[in-house]
């Protein structure tokens, strides 16, 4: 679905990448044992500190006290579903079709993101295991820093794709 969106300037580049499988995992009042067991089954410890991420067999992004976004291969959804089934109440649902993802790289990547958001990136994303949820160009975004990427991964709602294409094309002009 990425349809090859790509925009580049001298110091920053933006490209849309396929969203791939994404699962929203929610656990009602999870116990430490629940978290350990599920983390072991999906091969990634679920982060419990706000706005932290964890990387293992899949990537887990903290969304709320009882909610994570899991990015990973298709098999993981069934694994998550099975792993969560023993919890008091659990909900895991595929949401990859409802998201679009842009990768922003280059020395001015943070500057470009700052044009769209009032977040202090230096503080909010100081450590590589930090993620952020904020408003970006008036829409909700999750900003992730996956390992191996020299830049940022931005996760949006798919219905805003076209708007974001326009926004990025406009924003990149000032970067030469």
């Amino acid at each position: 679905m990425a349809d090859g969106f790509h925009a580049a300037a001298a110091t920053v580049a933006i490209r849309e990448v396929p969203a791939g499988p994404i699962t929203t995992l929610r656990l009602r009042r999870p116990s430490a044992a629940d978290l350990d067991r599920i983390g072991a089954l999906i091969g990634t410890a679920l982060p419990t500190d706000p706005n932290r991420t964890a990387d293992g067999a899949v990537r887990a992004i903290w969304i709320g006290l009882d909610e994570w976004l899991i990015l990973g291969d298709t098999a993981s959804h069934a694994v998550i579903e099975a792993a969560a089934s023993d919890a008091a109440a659990a909900l895991s649902v595929g949401v990859g079709d409802g998201r679009c993802i842009f990768v922003v790289t280059g020395p001015s990547a943070a500057d470009l993101i700052s044009k769209a958001s009032s977040l202090d990136l230096g503080r909010a994303l100081a450590s590589p295991d930090q993620s952020a949820m904020t408003l970006f160009a008036q829409v909700n975004v999750i900003i992730d820093q996956p390992p191996g990427l020299d830049g940022f991964r931005l996760i949006f709602d798919v219905s805003l794709r076209d708007y974001l294409h326009r926004w990025f094309r406009d924003a990149i002009v000032e970067f030469g």
Binding site: A89, V93, D97
Partner: protein, 670 residues
């Protein structure tokens, strides 16, 4: 125009603000404007100085250039309408003289720039010699220097800066001596006519007088009573003049009258700076459908519903109305395809899911059987209808809540709020999945035949898959969740597929649909079809006061157990049989009743509203206008002929039941 502004135009932009100027001043500094204009090739008709005596050296600056200087004089009138043509000067001897001019440069002296000092909490003092406020006592670790401290010569400014910078001896000196500009206070000219004090907010000396008479004498009251100093210049020119006039009126000194706290911004921020790039197509985010390009290729009129959605698909030489009528007939006679993707979809899961939904819906949901679908209303605590939709039971503890397109985000947040704030002990979780699934709806008597041709992994017969039930499986090999629910009154299949596969499904169905006469259906026809069925459109047929008892849902009050809004609905006022009730209206002839038209009772000045039209359209099925309306005591008035008024027109209609099309529901159950 301010004399300093005239100089700035000359020095910064090389622009003469006028060809023939008169300078009006009470201080030496304004003479620089006269000399600068002269040097730039302009004519200075006169310098009018309110002071009886002017330093001979200053006077010589203009007199040696042949510019007349009138001492002890004042401008008492101006001539000209859209441009200045001349001024009338009252000379020291009381006689008046007129000067032709196209520019009047005024100067009442300058104020030290104390804004930052004032914001730091520092106290100001009024300097009689300067006729201005200057910094007196610092509160923070701050020091004002130069003109900002009220110093008037270059040497004083250099010395103060040097000292402030912790310099010891040897402050730099000016290479030539500069005499300090002198000034004599002149706050108001005694002359008939309006005297503006705040040029931006048009506050006149008379307004200040009125404030004084009304006892708004404190500067803070004066400011708020007259709006003085509240324009984007924040009273830079006007504040001191105004409070000096107020001081004169109250007999208090200027120092006692005081100033308001200077506020930021010192320089106004342009609104464009706040807007940034958020204009044009980036003004606000607009959602797009996965099928956007296909709708456009079909000639759809795309309109802003928060989402860009097709309103109608007019064919060449067809009007929007004609398209709506044709599309509606296609659904009644054959089959239509509709993109309903923005419909809200919220997964609700957990052992207490039924309990939660029994509370947030006015209807009981927990008794729903797996694979079945139920329509329900959601109310707020006041009993007001906030949304409607269908809820499907996917599993024993798993539901899919359908919200209206406009309510998708709001209702997901509403459920989350109840769980986080009230039902913290319920074992249930919610997750909005609206944009993960697109919705393609086939509707019409041929819908089943068409769908069957696409290859469906579950039975489609009316018994195996009846109205208000749910199936999961595949259609044309695409994973699908299908609901048999209908907003049109015809057999309908609401097909949910992962958003990434929407185009694949659409292409299969439209290709197969060709021989069935399949047509895409826009929002216009969609609304018309549901109107014939008397189905609600939340936000159109309901407003911020509409409750279930207004729309024929009295039965919810017989429900056992609590639900959101129930207690509010138990108030006596809702038992009034004359309350607004949803009914249908049948118009006369081919008239289409205007939405918003009021039913009226009584005549002339005594007439009063008896309700109003909420939805209206021309029905191709009945060949006449049909409408929904909220009418006082409406459900007891079926068959009554009523008068309506709208924008001076008087109309007539008959009250009917809300559902005019297939009231038995034979077609949607088929």
């Amino acid at each position: 125009m301010l004399a300093s502004a005239v100089r700035h135009y000359l020095a910064r932009y090389g622009v003469r603000a006028g060809e023939r100027a008169v300078v009006f001043a009470n201080n030496d500094e304004a003479y620089r404007t006269a000399t600068a204009l002269h040097a730039a090739g302009g004519t200075v008709a006169a310098v009018v100085d309110t002071r009886d005596t002017v330093d001979p050296a200053v006077a010589a600056l203009v007199e040696t250039l042949g510019i007349p200087l009138l001492r002890g004089a004042a401008i008492v009138a101006t001539q000209g309408a859209k441009a200045l043509r001349g001024v009338t000067v009252r000379k020291a001897d009381g006689r008046t003289v007129r000067f032709a001019c196209d520019l009047l440069a005024m100067s009442g002296g300058s104020n030290p720039n104390v804004n930052l000092f004032s914001q730091s909490g520092g106290r100001l003092a009024f300097d009689e010699e300067l006729t201005a406020f200057r910094p007196a006592q610092s509160v923070q670790n701050e020091v004002s220097v130069g003109a900002a401290a009220g110093l008037r010569t270059l040497d004083e400014a250099l010395a103060s800066g040097h000292t402030a910078g912790a310099g010891k001896d040897g402050a730099p000196r000016a290479t030539e001596a500069h005499a300090a500009s002198t000034i004599a206070a002149c706050w108001q000219i005694d002359a008939p006519g309006k005297a503006f004090v705040d040029m931006q907010n048009d506050v006149s000396a008379d307004d200040i007088g009125l404030a004084a008479r009304e006892s708004f004498r404190s500067v803070e009251h004066l400011k708020r009573y007259t709006t003085l100093g509240m324009a984007s210049d924040q009273g830079k020119t006007s504040n001191v003049n105004a409070l000096a006039i107020m001081a004169g009126l109250t007999g208090q000194g200027i120092a006692e009258t005081g100033t308001t706290r200077f506020r930021f911004p010192f320089v106004p921020v342009a609104l464009g700076s706040f807007a940034g790039r958020a204009h044009g197509e980036l003004l606000r985010p607009l959602r797009r459908l996965a099928l956007h390009d296909r709708h456009v290729a079909l000639g759809a009129i795309m309109e802003d519903y928060g989402w860009l959605r097709p309103s109608a698909y007019p064919r060449p030489c067809e009007s929007r109305f004609e398209a709506e009528q044709r599309e509606a007939r296609t659904v009644r006679d054959g089959v239509g395809i509709f993109d309903g993707s923005p419909l809200g979809k919220i997964e609700v899961r957990g052992p207490d899911a039924g309990k939660l939904l029994d509370f947030v819906y006015a209807s009981t949901i927990s008794t729903l059987k797996v694979g079945k679908v139920r329509y329900g209303l959601m109310l707020n605590e006041l009993g007001v209808v906030i949304d409607d939709g269908v809820c499907a039971r996917l599993g024993e503890d798993h539901f899919l809540v359908g919200a209206s397109s406009a309510g998708a985000d709001r209702i997901a947040a509403w459920l989350e709020e109840w769980l986080q704030c009230e039902f913290v002990d319920y074992d249930v979780l919610v997750a909005p999945v609206t944009t993960n699934w697109s919705v393609v709806t086939l509707t019409g008597p041929k819908a089943r035949d068409l769908l069957a041709e696409a290859g469906v992994s579950f039975p489609l017969g009316a018994e195996a898959f009846p109205h208000m039930s749910f199936q999961t499986g595949t259609i044309a090999g695409i994973e699908a969740r299908v609901m048999r629910v209908s907003y049109t009154g015809e057999t309908s299949y609401e097909i949910n597929v992962p958003t990434g596969r929407t185009a694949d499904l659409w292409d299969v169905l439209t290709r197969l649909g060709e021989r069935h006469g399949l047509a895409p259906i826009g929002i216009d026809a969609w609304n018309l079809l549901r109107l014939e069925k008397g189905y609600l459109h939340i936000g159109a047929d309901t407003d911020g006061t509409t409750n279930p008892l207004n729309i024929g849902w009295d039965h919810v009050m017989r429900r056992k157990g609590d639900f959101a809004g129930k207690r509010s609905l138990m108030l006596d006022l809702h038992k009034n049989p004359k309350r607004l009730q949803l009914v249908g209206l049948s118009a006369e002839g081919r008239e289409v009743l205007p939405i918003g038209a009021h039913l009226v009772r009584g005549l002339g000045a005594d007439r009063a509203s008896d309700g109003f039209v909420t939805s209206s359209a021309f029905s191709p099925t009945f060949g006449k206008g049909v409408a929904l309306a909220l009418v006082h005591g409406g459900s007891e008035r079926i068959g009554e002929t009523v008068a309506l008024e709208h924008e001076g027109r008087r109309l007539s209609a008959t009250i009917v039941k809300p559902t005019v099309y297939d009231p038995e529901g034979a077609r949607l159950n088929g």
